[in-house]
C-alpha cells in the first residue's frame, strides 16, 4: 500500500483553489497517495473538490470553517485529518495562513517541521526537503530525525504536477480543541484585480520598478512593459514605501520571492535584500542610469541608461515586431 500524504490546500476568498495547489499536489504525488484537506469550502465545496481531484488528490476531506475564530479551526481540522489518514508526511503551502497552521499542528502533535521547501523528494532513508537559504546563495537539504515530517512548500516553485483523479469527497468530523484564539471582528475582501496580468507569485516573467521610476504616475511605464511582455508587475521596497504600488508587489527578502524565466529590473539599484527575492531568475535584465549599480553584477543584459527613454523604445520595438 502506498503511504498517504496529507495536503492542506489554500483557497481564495472567491472560492477557488490557490495557485499553490497544483505544485503542492504534484509534490505530494511524488511522495505517495495525495489526500487533500479543504477547510471552510462552504458553498464552493463541490467545485473545490473537483478542482483538487483534477490536480491529483485521490480523496478530498472537507471540514467546516468558522469565520469568527482565527486559525484554530483549521489546526483542529488538520489534526482530525491526520488522525484519520495517518499520513507519512503533511504538506502545506508556505503561505501566511498555512505555515502558521502547520506549525501549531506540529507542536500540538509533537511533529517536526521542514519549512519553505523548494523541492520535496523521497529516497530509501525517507522524505527530504530542499531549501534555498539567504536568497539563493546556498542550497540546504533537510529531513526529520523520525516520525512523519510536516513540510511547507514555497509557492509557485514546484514544477511537478499530479494526475487527474476521480472526485472522491468526504466530510470530515472535527472536534473543536477549544484552544484560546483571537476573534475575527471583520473580514474585508478587496475586489479581484481586474487586469489580466499574471500574478507575481509563480510568474514566469516579471517586470519590477524601483525608486528610479520617480512617482506613482510614472510607474505606469513598468506596467506598460509588463503588458508588452505578458509579465507580472513587481517592485522594490523603496517603490512600495514611496506609495507607487501596494505592498503585495514587493519582491525581495521580506516580499515575494520569484524565480521567473525573465526578470526585468527598472530603476532598481539591486540592494542585497532585493536580490534575495529574484537572483534565482533564469535571465535578468537591468536598466539603471548609474553604471555602478549593484544590479549589474547579476544582470545577463544590463543597460546603463534612462528608463524613460530606453523602455518606450523597447516597447515600440516589441510592438513593431508584432508582439
Amino acid at each position: 500500500m502506498t503511504d498517504n500524504i496529507l495536503v492542506l490546500l489554500d483557497s481564495t476568498p472567491d472560492g477557488q483553489l490557490s495557485k499553490s495547489v497544483p505544485g503542492l499536489l504534484g509534490a505530494a504525488t511524488g511522495l505517495g497517495n495525495p489526500i487533500a484537506l479543504i477547510v471552510g469550502a462552504g458553498e464552493h465545496a463541490d467545485a473545490l473538490s473537483a478542482a483538487a481531484a483534477a490536480a491529483g488528490a485521490t480523496k478530498v476531506l472537507l471540514a467546516d470553517g468558522d469565520n469568527t475564530i482565527y486559525s484554530t479551526p483549521t489546526v483542529d481540522a488538520l489534526q482530525a485529518a491526520a488522525a484519520l489518514v495517518q499520513p507519512a508526511a503533511v504538506l502545506a503551502a508556505h503561505s501566511d495562513q498555512s505555515k502558521e497552521v502547520v506549525a501549531r499542528f506540529a507542536v500540538r502533535t509533537g511533529a517536526a517541521v521542514n519549512y519553505d521547501a523548494i523541492d520535496v523528494t523521497r529516497d530509501a532513508k525517507g522524505i527530504i526537503a530542499s531549501h534555498s537559504a539567504y536568497g539563493g546563495a546556498f542550497v540546504v537539504t533537510s529531513a526529520v530525525t523520525f516520525a512523519a515530517p510536516v513540510i511547507t512548500v514555497r509557492q509557485g516553485v514546484v514544477e511537478a504536477r499530479g494526475t487527474a483523479q476521480p472526485v472522491v469527497a468526504e466530510k470530515l468530523a472535527v472536534t473543536p480543541s477549544g484552544r484560546k484564539s483571537a476573534a475575527i471582528e471583520s473580514i474585508d475582501v478587496a475586489d479581484a484585480p481586474t487586469s489580466l496580468r499574471p500574478e507575481l507569485r509563480g510568474a514566469t516573467k516579471v517586470v519590477s520598478g524601483g525608486r528610479g521610476l520617480g512617482t506613482a504616475e510614472k510607474f505606469v511605464l513598468v506596467e506598460q512593459l509588463a503588458d508588452a511582455l505578458g509579465a507580472a508587475v513587481g517592485a522594490s521596497r523603496a517603490a512600495v514605501d514611496a506609495g507607487f504600488v501596494p505592498q503585495t508587489f514587493q519582491v525581495g527578502q521580506t516580499g515575494v520571492q520569484v524565480s521567473p524565466q525573465l526578470y526585468v529590473a527598472l530603476g532598481i539599484s539591486g540592494a542585497i535584500q532585493h536580490k534575495a527575492g529574484m537572483q534565482t531568475a533564469k535571465t535578468i535584465i537591468a536598466i539603471n542610469k548609474d553604471e555602478t549599480a549593484p544590479i549589474f553584477e547579476i544582470a545577463d543584459f544590463g543597460v546603463v541608461g534612462d528608463v524613460f527613454t530606453v523602455v518606450p523604445q523597447l516597447i515600440a520595438a516589441l510592438e513593431a515586431s508584432g508582439k
Binding site: 546563495a137 546556498f138 471582528e185 521580506t254 542585497i272 547579476i298 527613454t309 520595438a317
Partner: protein
C-alpha cells in the same frame, strides 16, 4: 503590564551572509551580527507604549549563543527595562519546534501579558515561531499585524494578506507579531547606552528554566546537506547611445523571451 519582546540576532543583511559548509549553521565569524530589523520595530512599539503608559515593563527575551549579548544589550539601550538571554550548548542548531519549546518555557518563567515578535526574520524567514508559541502556551495569536491597538485587557489589530484584510482581537495574555510596515526604530542615544549597563541582564540555561525539554525525545528537523551556489556572473552591459531599447528587444527575441 509586562510586555516581552522576542529579540533575535541575525547576520547583517547589508553585508554578505554565509553558511558554514561543515555545520550548516550561520557562520558568525564571517558576517556582522545585528538585531533583526523587524525585531527593532517590535521593540520600538513596546518601548513607546511603555513611555505613554506608566507601570509597563518591557523585557527583551532572546535565545542565542552568549556572543549575542551585544545585540541584546542594544534593546536595553533603546529603552527595554531588562533582558533575558537563553543560551545553552544543547540548543545549537535548534529547529523551529525546539526553539518554540524553549521560548515558551522562558516566557512562563518570566511571566507576561503581551508577547511581541517580528513576523519573520531575515535569516530564517520561517515566520512560524509566534504561532507555535500560541499553541504551546494556549494563548491567542494575532500575527503579521500592520496596525495594533493595545489596552490593559485586550490587543487588536489589522492583518492584510493579499486581498483580505482581517480585524482581529484577543484578550490578554496574547502573542502578536508585527511586520516591517511598523515605524522605524529609534537609535539608542548616549544616555540610553550608559543606562543599559546598569539594567538587569540575565543569562539562563535550559536547566535554569526548570522546564522539561528533551532534545532527542521528539522528532527534530535536521540539515542533511548543504552547498554554496556558484555566484551569478554578470553578462553584457551596454551604455545607451540611443538604440539600447532596440538592442534589448533583439536580445529578448534571440533568447525566445518574447
Amino acid at each position: 503590564m509586562r510586555i516581552v519582546v522576542l529579540v533575535k540576532e541575525a547576520p547583517d543583511t547589508y553585508g554578505e551572509r554565509f553558511l558554514d559548509l561543515e555545520t550548516g549553521l550561520a557562520d558568525r565569524n564571517k558576517s556582522d551580527r545585528v538585531l533583526d530589523e523587524i525585531v527593532e520595530r517590535a521593540l520600538e512599539y513596546a518601548i513607546s507604549y511603555a513611555e505613554k503608559h506608566e507601570g509597563t515593563e518591557v523585557v527583551a527575551l532572546s535565545m542565542a549563543t552568549e556572543d549575542a549579548t551585544a545585540s541584546v544589550r542594544k534593546a536595553l539601550a533603546m529603552g527595554a527595562d531588562r533582558a533575558v538571554l537563553i543560551s545553552d550548548g544543547a540548543l545549537v542548531g535548534a529547529d523551529v519546534t525546539l526553539t518554540a519549546e524553549v521560548l515558551a518555557a522562558a516566557l512562563t518563567h518570566i511571566g507576561y501579558d503581551l508577547v511581541i515578535a517580528g513576523d519573520q526574520s531575515t535569516d530564517g524567514a520561517g515566520g512560524v515561531v509566534p504561532a507555535a508559541l500560541s499553541e504551546l502556551l494556549d494563548i491567542p495569536q494575532i500575527t503579521k499585524l500592520t496596525t495594533i491597538e493595545l489596552d490593559d485587557k485586550a490587543v487588536s489589530g489589522t492583518r492584510v494578506i493579499d486581498r483580505v484584510t482581517l480585524k482581529l482581537r484577543a484578550e490578554l495574555p496574547a502573542i502578536v507579531s508585527v511586520t516591517e510596515r511598523f515605524p522605524d526604530a529609534r537609535f539608542p542615544n548616549f544616555k540610553g547606552i550608559m543606562a543599559a549597563k546598569k539594567k538587569p541582564f540575565e543569562v539562563l540555561s535550559v536547566a535554569d528554566l526548570g522546564a522539561d525539554i528533551d532534545v532527542l525525545a521528539k522528532p527534530r528537523a535536521i540539515m542533511t546537506e548543504i552547498s554554496a551556489k556558484p555566484p551569478r556572473a554578470a553578462g553584457v552591459k551596454i551604455v545607451d547611445e540611443g538604440d539600447a531599447g532596440n538592442q534589448l528587444a533583439e536580445f529578448l527575441k534571440k533568447n525566445q523571451l518574447v
